[in-house]
């Protein structure tokens, strides 16, 4: 069990080294001639207008909240799914009740218009 996570840890290290290697090679052998026009921000060929970090649309935040609720629900459903064979029909019905409560929350959000435009 311990060596499995050691494997994942080494995989992480290799996973960082492998993408970095071509980038280092590229930094060594590619030309390096910076000039202000090349490094200016791209906006379809014209000068940029206004701030780069534009205002954040609030609807994204609401959708992220809805995602959060359902993500936590799915994390709780993982151990439920694994224990179904040992626990029988009662556990299934309990799990379905849990899902039902959260679906009621989704229906509430839907009716209140929180799922409209992105």
């Amino acid at each position: 069990m311990q060596s499995e996570w050691l494997y994942i840890g080494l995989f992480l290290i290799v996973g960082i080294l492998i993408p970095v290697a071509p980038l280092v090679i590229a930094a060594l052998i590619s030309p390096h001639k910076p000039n202000p026009i090349k490094q200016s921000t791209y906006e379809c060929g014209i000068e940029t207008v206004g701030d780069s970090w534009v205002q954040f649309k609030a609807q994204y935040y609401i959708l992220a909240l809805v995602f959060l609720v359902f993500d936590v629900e799915t994390v709780f459903l993982f151990p439920w799914a694994l224990s179904l064979n040992k626990m029988g029909v009662f556990a299934v019905l309990e799990g379905i009740l849990f899902i039902g409560i959260l679906v009621a929350g989704l229906v509430y959000a839907w009716r209140k218009g929180m799922l409209e435009w992105a």
């Binding site: 060596s3 050691l6 494997y7 994942i8 080494l10 995989f11 992480l12 290799v14 996973g15 960082i16 492998i18 993408p19 071509p22 980038l23 090679i25 590229a26 930094a27 052998i29 590619s30 030309p31 390096h32 202000p36 090349k38 490094q39 200016s40 921000t41 791209y42 906006e43 379809c44 940029t48 206004g50 701030d51 780069s52 970090w53 534009v54 954040f56 649309k57 994204y60 959708l63 992220a64 995602f67 359902f70 993500d71 799915t74 459903l77 993982f78 799914a81 694994l82 179904l84 064979n85 029909v89 299934v92 799990g95 379905i96 899902i99 679906v103 839907w110 799922l115 409209e116 992105a118």
Partner: protein
């Protein structure tokens, strides 16, 4: 355990033995052996990635009624190598005002998120990275690192198009994670394990595509949305926000975004094949050879392992081909249509499917295997039919509303 039965374990044991004989402590020998194995696996994934660039360009060409690269090498096979050389020798531009550390780290994280998935992908019964008992949870977690890479790239680019592209892409990815994770629970219930190796082994008798075709459909849709490929490719909506979050990237940094997207698509094709098409299972092939009823064709272990690996690669390529097929046949959908499709249709549908599968899964021990397969398949068809009926009733209602409005407008115009 000989070389002919179990090549990977035999070779790693042999290498650890040599290293300990040279005087290294046992843990260091094990770490070095594991390290070499990981490097080989990742090298295989990267070589496959290069091959996938060629496949992608040829297939998109054929879909668009042209030939694709055919000048460099036979059938254009050397084209991706030429592309890599070109990308590596390009100048490394970091736009002014960009957050240098985060900007340069984003493509590395995007590639790392995909490479991490190869740790659990079961290529064959004896060729896999590691048999985690929480493999499906690890799949979701490693996928979330890709989302981090998108956020980093979009934010650090000092470009409003990158930022907008990033917002939309992240809203897309997190939304479609819910149906995907819920569908991941279906093979978990059917196989009673989160480990991809156990799920593959549990499909020896029936592939899960026959037990849950709707699950496969929702998984493919969610996977295509997760990857950010067409028709969900708001990130690369070239007519709108010109390459979205990777607008300021050039050279090899862009190369890593592109390569990791293709490899991610192939990896999801691989996971679709593992979860629903039996992974490396070949019909009639058991651990010691083909069993056609009473006729047994024995094969050495290593041949069986290679046949299973080939079967897995073919199934994963088929999944990748379906993803490409959808990409090159359908137009892009708008962000609000995309999110409405997820929250108002896919999430409730996947939760209903999960509930029905959990209920019927209790019959797995009671019924004969073929009866259980039939019950699950028919239940999936019933859910599809009921969903279509609900959608039709909704469309009918909308049409009647529109007719009423146009009739009232026509009457109003007459007066």
């Amino acid at each position: 355990m000989t070389f002919w039965n179990d090549p990977i374990n035999f070779l790693s044991g042999w290498l650890s033995g040599i290293l300990t004989a040279w005087g290294l402590p046992a843990t260091l020998a094990m770490v070095l052996t594991i390290f070499i194995g990981i490097v080989l696996l990742v090298m295989f994934a990267m070589t496959l990635d290069i091959f996938l660039v060629w496949v992608e360009r040829k297939v998109v060409a054929r879909f668009q009624d042209r030939i694709g690269p055919n000048r460099i090498g036979p059938f254009g096979l050397v084209q991706p190598f030429a592309d890599i050389i070109k990308l590596v020798i390009k100048e490394d531009i970091t736009p002014d005002g960009a957050d240098k550390v985060v900007f340069n780290l984003a493509p590395v994280m995007a590639a790392m998120a995909v490479i991490l998935l190869w740790a659990i992908l079961p290529i064959s019964s004896k060729i896999y990275g590691v048999d985690l008992n929480v493999a499906l949870l690890y799949l979701v977690a490693a996928g979330a690192l890709g989302t981090m890479a998108i956020i980093m790239a979009g934010w650090a680019s000092n470009n409003k198009y990158a930022l907008l592209g990033m917002y939309r892409m992240v809203a897309n990815v997190i939304a479609y994670e819910i149906p995907m994770v819920v569908i991941l629970l279906i093979p978990t219930i059917l196989a009673d394990s989160m480990s991809v190796k156990s799920i593959t082994e549990a499909q020896a008798s029936t592939w899960y595509v026959f037990l849950s075709p709707l699950g496969l459909l929702i998984f493919m849709i969610s996977a295509i949305a997760e990857l950010g490929r067409s028709p969900f490719d708001l990130n690369e909506a070239e007519s709108e926000i010109v390459a979205g979050f990777h607008i300021e990237y050039s050279g090899m940094k862009f190369g890593w975004f592109y390569a990791s997207e293709l490899l991610h698509a192939f990896t999801f094709g691989g996971f679709a094949s593992v979860l629903f098409f039996g992974g490396w299972q070949v019909p009639f092939l058991l651990a010691d050879g083909f069993h056609f009823g009473s006729l047994v064709v024995t094969l050495p272990g290593i041949v069986v392992v290679l046949v299973q690996a080939l079967a897995f690669l073919l199934k994963a390529l088929f999944g990748y081909w379906v993803i490409m097929w959808v990409k090159y046949s359908m137009p892009r959908i708008r962000i609000d249509q995309m999110l409405a499709f997820n929250w108002k249709f896919l999430t409730p549908l996947s939760l209903v499917l999960l509930s029905v599968t959990a209920l019927l899964g209790q019959l797995q021990t009671v019924l004969l295997p073929w009866a259980f397969t039939l019950v699950m398949f028919v239940s999936n068809l019933l859910i599809i039919w009921i969903t279509i009926e609900i959608l039709r009733a909704y469309a009918r209602r909308q049409r009647k509303q529109e007719e009423r409005i146009t009739a009232a407008a026509a009457q109003g115009a007459h007066q």
